[in-house]
Assembly symmetry: C2
Homo-oligomer: 160 residues x 2
C-alpha cells in the first residue's frame, strides 16, 4: 500500500503499532472528489466547497431510506493512504511538535475522518454533498444525520 | 458476544453482512460512564451532562501532548454491543420504518459513535469530559480537537 507519507519530519515520534486490530470496519462505498492527491485537497471541507459524490454500494441502498429528509449529514470515511504509527507530529514542518490527538491530521492510529456536509441531492445510491476534503476514491464508512450550525433540518424547511 | 439487541422489531430489515471486513481499528482506551446498560444512557450526550472519564491506554499517552489547549473535542468510540446487520429500523417500535443511515442508532454496519464533548480536565492519560452517551466500558477509537458551537478554543480563552 502506498502511504500518504513515509517521511518522518524532525521531532516526530513513530512507534511499532499493535497487531492485530481489535475490530473490523466495512467499506460501504466510495467518495468521488475533484482531488487526486492529498496536496490538492482542501485542508478541511467547507460547506460552500466543491460538490462531491458519495457512491454507496448497492448492498446498502435500503439503508438510505429517509435520508432525503435531512439537509445536513455527518460523513465518516477511512483515510486509507495515511500512516497510523505517529504519536507526535510536526505539522507543516515548522517545529511545533504536537500529539496526534491534538490535531486533525489524517495520520492517526485509526484514520477515520469526520465531516459535516450539506446534502445537495440524491440520485439512487449516490449522494451529492458539499463539505468534504478527501482524495478521490476514499472509502466511505458511515452516514449519519446531523444538526448543523446555521442549518435547519430539511424536514422542517420543506416537509414533503 | 452479547449484542445490544438480537430482537428484530416489526418491519426491520436484517441482512447477512459481508465477511471479512475491509480494515481494522485499534481500541486505544476505554470510556468510563455512570451508565451500565444502554437503557440508562442518555439518548444523545449533552454538554451539560454527567462528567465521564476517557482512559487512554498508556501506549498512546504521548499522542495527548497539547490536547489541554482545546476546550472542545470530538470523541469517536466503538459501540461494541450493537448489532451491525440492520438496513432498516423501527426506532422505538412505533412503526416508522427508516433507513439505518437516516438515524443515529448505534445499530449500523460500522458501529462508530461520534460526540462533541467539553474537556473539563486531564489527569495523566485520563480525560474528564461532558457530552458522552455510552455505556461504561465502551472502547475508545479516536480523539480530535473540534470547534464547538458557542465555545471558544481554550488557547484563545486562557493562553498558557
Amino acid at each position: 500500500m502506498t502511504l500518504l507519507s513515509e517521511r518522518i519530519r524532525p521531532g516526530e515520534v513513530a512507534v511499532e503499532i499493535p497487531r492485530p486490530t481489535d475490530a473490523g470496519v466495512y467499506f460501504i462505498g466510495r467518495i468521488r472528489t475533484p482531488w487526486a492527491t492529498s496536496g490538492e485537497c482542501p485542508k478541511r471541507g467547507r460547506r460552500d466547497g466543491e460538490i462531491c459524490r458519495i457512491e454507496v454500494d448497492p448492498f446498502w441502498h435500503p439503508a438510505l431510506q429517509g435520508l432525503d429528509k435531512h439537509a445536513c449529514l455527518q460523513i465518516l470515511y477511512w483515510m486509507h493512504l495515511a500512516r497510523r504509527d505517529l504519536l507526535q507530529q510536526n505539522p507543516g514542518g515548522g517545529g511545533n511538535i504536537v500529539g496526534t490527538f491534538a490535531i486533525r491530521s489524517p495520520v492517526r492510529p485509526n484514520p477515520i475522518a469526520s465531516s459535516l456536509v450539506d446534502l445537495v441531492g440524491i440520485e439512487g445510491g449516490t449522494l451529492m454533498v458539499r463539505g468534504l476534503d478527501c482524495i478521490d476514491g476514499t472509502p466511505l464508512i458511515d452516514i449519519k444525520p446531523e444538526f448543523c450550525p446555521g442549518k435547519h433540518r430539511a424536514d422542517d424547511q420543506n416537509a414533503a
